[in-house]
Structure formats: C-alpha cells, structure tokens
Amino acid sequence: MNLYVLLKMVPDTVEELEVAADGKSLDSEFLRFKLSEPDDHALEQALILKEKMGGKVTVVAFDAPEVDDVLFTALAKGADRAVKIPLNQASLGTVASAKVLTEFFAAAGALTSDSLLLPGSQAIDDLEGELAPLLAAALKLPYIGVVCGVTGDAGKVTVLKEFAGGLRGEFEVTLPAVLGIQSAEKPPRYVPVAKVRAVMKSAQIEEAALASPEQPIQLDIERMYKPEAAGRAQMIEGSTEEVADQLVEVLAKNSVI
C-alpha cells in the first residue's frame, strides 16, 4: 500500500492563546505548535496498515515551528519518507493548504491504484473546513471522515466510521481514496527519545518545492476573542428543597430534561 499521512501542526491549547493586536488572529509570540491529535492517529493507523499489508508510509507536512521534530518522530515510529512543503502553514488556511497538496499529489506518479491518503479527520483550527474532504474533492477521490479503523484489501479498504453513542458504520471504499482519521485502532505508539535522536542523525527530510496560492484565507474574519472566563462556580444556596429546585432549572436550561 502506498500510504500518505498528512501531518498538521496546530496551536497547543495547553498554552494560553492570546489574540494579536489586529484582533483577527492569534498572537504568534505566545503560540506553540503541536501535532494535531487526529493526525497522530492517522500516522498510527498508517503504520498499523503497513505492518499488516506491507507498503510504504510517507508523511507530508507544511513548515511550522517544531515540525521537523514531528517528522523525525514519525520516521522513528516507522514511516519511510518524510516530506516537508516549505510554505508557512500558519499563513495558509485549510482551503489554500488543500490547493497546495492537490498540486503535490497531482504530480506524476504520486497517486497509484493502491494509494491511501490519511489526513486527520479534523483539526481545532479548521475554520474554513476540513482538509480531507477539500483534498478529496479537488483530487476527485472518494472520501470518508471520522474513521476509527481501517482494514486493507486488494484495491479497496473497509473502514469504520463513528456515528454517535458508540454506534459505528462499516463502509467499503475503493482505492485510491482519502480517509479522514479520527482515531487509530490502537492509541499512537510511544517512541523513545533515543530512537528519535538516532533517526535525526541518520535520516533526511525531503523538501517539495510548491508555489504558494495567491489568496491564503478567504473568509472575512471580523474579530477573534476569548470567551468569557468561567471562573468560580455559581454557588447555589438554600435549603435542600430550594437547592434541588434550582438544580432542576439548571437541568432544564441545559435542555437535558
């Protein structure tokens, strides 16, 4: 199988996110990036498929702070190739990213009849939409999202898509295709630091020169702001009866009764 995993760096929400002076973007000074979690699962799923079916795993990422570490980590985990597109991801929206990647995959020979493109199902900064369907539409490939398990077969894969309440659906997808991975069959593996360091010494990250699209983000963002701080709980006082009455109101307001 020819497996492509698309890795995307997103702002780390463990850090405080601050809005920049223009009021329309994040302040990059405080920003730190980490691999989008579903993408980490996509990598794991690709590695599992490779172990079961054979083939090659290529990881592809745009340039972003700390992205090299992520690419080397992917290689240490078992990916075969790492490709970096030297365009600054932060300035590209999802739509523009999809355009660049379409070009990347449209290049001769990239897509074969046993190719599987595995982006994460979604990301926390997907304001313009998800990468997987945008890419699939542009490449005219079959697409399915919220995938939580993939089994390979000749020319097709069987995937599990998560609905709600534990209900899942089984789908058959003809290759080549784009699968938006929500979670791998198993949690992403741990790779020890020593192994990553060894890979850093021995492996190379390839660069794919691609042109930047002209209009990065198309939406008219008026402002960005932090939601009002939740702070301390709103305390309910009174007799047990009164407290219970007020709690019933809270439940009703949250439309659970």
Partner: protein, 323 residues
C-alpha cells in the same frame, strides 16, 4: 426577497437527529431576519415520512432513494448543488456532526462558497450573516461575516436549542428524482455499541460520584438520579478502587475522558486526575461538603452540602418535572 436559507436535514436509522431541529430553529430566525424562505433537504430511503417533522421549513426537498442512505459526501453534495441551483439558496446550514462531517467542505470545494466551521452563534446583519465560530477547542471565538449572506455554515451540535426547530405542522414537500451514480464509498452495515457496560463517553448526562458518596449502597442514590435523567453513573478513582463501580465507569486521567452536556460531580473534591477527564463537560454541577474543594473553582454550578441529603430530593423533583 433575499436568497433562501437551506438546511441539510440529518437523519440516522430513520430518525431525525437533534442537530436538524437546531438548524431549523436558527435557520428560521435568520430567515425571518433577512426576509427569506427556509428550505430543508432530506435524503435517504424512507425519507418521505420523516419530512413531516420538518414543519419549520417552508419547503422540504426530499430525495427518497436507498442509495442516498449514509451516502458519501460527494453524492450528497451533488444533490445539494441541484437544490441550490434550483432554489437559488444563499446560506446552507450543515451539522458539524460525525454523520455529516465533510459534506460542508465538499460542497464548498465544488461550489466555491465560503464555509464557516464550528458555528455556535449566528446573526443577521442586514443582508449579511455573522457567524461565531468556536476554535481551538473552545479557547477562542471568532466572528466571521458572510457579506452577501451566501455561504455554508457548519453548526456545532448542542449550541442551539432544538425545541426552536420543532413544529407540529407538516411542510410542503417537493420530491427530487435524481440519478445517483454508483458511489465509491458504500455503506455495508451498522456495528452496534459493544454490549456489556454503558459507554460513559457517549452519555449526555453523567452522575459522577466520589468518596463523598461514602458507601457502596449510597451509589444507588446516584443511579436513581441517572436513571430519571436518562444518563449513567461514573466515578472517581477512590470509588473504583473500593470496587463500588466497575473500571469502565472511571473518569479521569486513567479512566475515560468525558464531555457530557451535564456532569454532576457529587462528593468529588476535584483532584487534577479527575478534573482532566471531565473538564470539558458543557455544564458541571458540583456538590461537596467542603466549600474549599477545588472542584468549585472549575465547576459551573456549585452547591455546598451533603450529597446524600440532596440526591433523593433532586431525583424526585426531576421525576415530577418530567411528568
């Protein structure tokens, strides 16, 4: 008259999903504000009878075709495109749910319409539509404008009241008879949730109990409340350790991460290990005898008091309210 607003109704296994009513509710409000009709599109086998529930729409386009059942995004958007062309719809509302994920983006790719994801508020501003998107796991909100009111908005489930989208009247229905290409993604079967214990990560309401519940027998009080609310009981580590609840009910670092609409933290002090597993719950109601318990720093609603006293009273009142 402004361009119509179009709602992509979502159904799963012959039932209209809540998100559909949420979209119809907010769609109705927007439509009234801009003075446009509200349309809905409903796809899938046996879709026709379900259309009757979408009375908030001025018209429902129904494509009753078994091939459209859980059809791939490209197939659904082909239908949507036809309807948009036919009805001159401006704003399209799609659910930001697992079932519908990707349909909005595919439509955007095919039509060139701008898409705003993760919307949890929508307002009309003249003929423009202003949407509030919840980004970075809820840490940042972003106001985005669709200047001419044309675009695709993916609505976050649970952000809008579903009741606003319900109606007793049956709407006018227009049947669509469209050829459907053989899709390259085909639905095979449902896989039911694993039987056995309840999956607490899928619950809307969780009644979490901690050491403050004091004994195994008292867990029943929490079970009673969970039952009338249609939720489930979960627990913090000490309770699991005591064997009062099975491991599958553990919330926290080493247990499950849950995000229900309402989370009761009963007799749970709020140790970070536990907090990590339930902090994203939409509404956290904490009850603890200790006013200094850290749980009150993060909960939305707090009650200083005895859980054992409160539980039976609350259960009765919820029962009474539900009738």
């Amino acid at each position: 008259m402004a361009n119509p607003i179009l709602v992509l109704a979502e159904q799963l296994r012959g039932e209209i999903s809540d998100i559909t009513f949420e979209m119809l509710g907010v769609g109705r409000a927007l439509a009234s504000a801009v003075g446009a009709p509200l349309y809905a599109v409903l796809l899938g086998s046996e879709a026709a009878p379900l259309a009757a529930k979408l009375g908030k729409a001025d018209k429902v386009f129904v494509a009753d075709n078994p091939q459209l059942n859980l059809a791939p995004a490209a197939t659904v958007t082909a239908v949507l495109k036809t309807v948009i062309d036919q009805s001159q719809a401006g704003l399209v509302l799609v659910g930001c749910t697992n079932v519908s994920l990707g349909i909005g983006s595919t439509l955007a790719a095919q039509t060139g319409l701008p898409l705003v994801n993760f919307c949890r508020a929508a307002r009309a501003d003249g003929s423009a539509i202003q949407l509030t998107s919840q980004l970075f796991g809820g840490k940042i909100l972003s106001d985005v404008k669709l200047p001419d009111g044309r675009g695709i908005a993916c609505l976050y489930p649970g952000a809008f009241p579903a009741d606003d989208g319900k109606s007793d009247q049956a709407p006018p229905v227009e049947k669509l008879d469209l050829p459907v290409e053989a899709p390259k993604v085909t639905f095979k079967q449902y896989i039911e949730p694993e039987t056995g214990d309840v999956d607490i990560t899928k619950q809307n309401i969780l009644v979490g109990v901690g050491r403050g519940i004091q004994s195994q027998d008292n867990v029943q009080l929490a079970e009673d409340l969970a039952q009338v609310l249609g939720g489930a009981v979960c627990a913090s580590r000490p309770v699991i350790d005591q064997g009062w609840q099975p491991l599958s009910r553990q919330v926290g670092k080493s247990g499950m991460t849950v995000k229900p609409r309402v989370y009761f933290a009963l007799g749970i002090s709020g140790a970070p290990e536990h907090w990590e597993g339930m902090q994203n719950s939409l509404c956290i109601i904490a009850v603890n005898t200790d006013p200094k318990a850290p749980i009150f720093d993060g909960a939305h609603i707090g009650v200083v008091g005895d859980v054992l006293e409160l539980l039976p009273v609350l259960t009765d009142k919820v029962k009474a309210r539900k009738g």
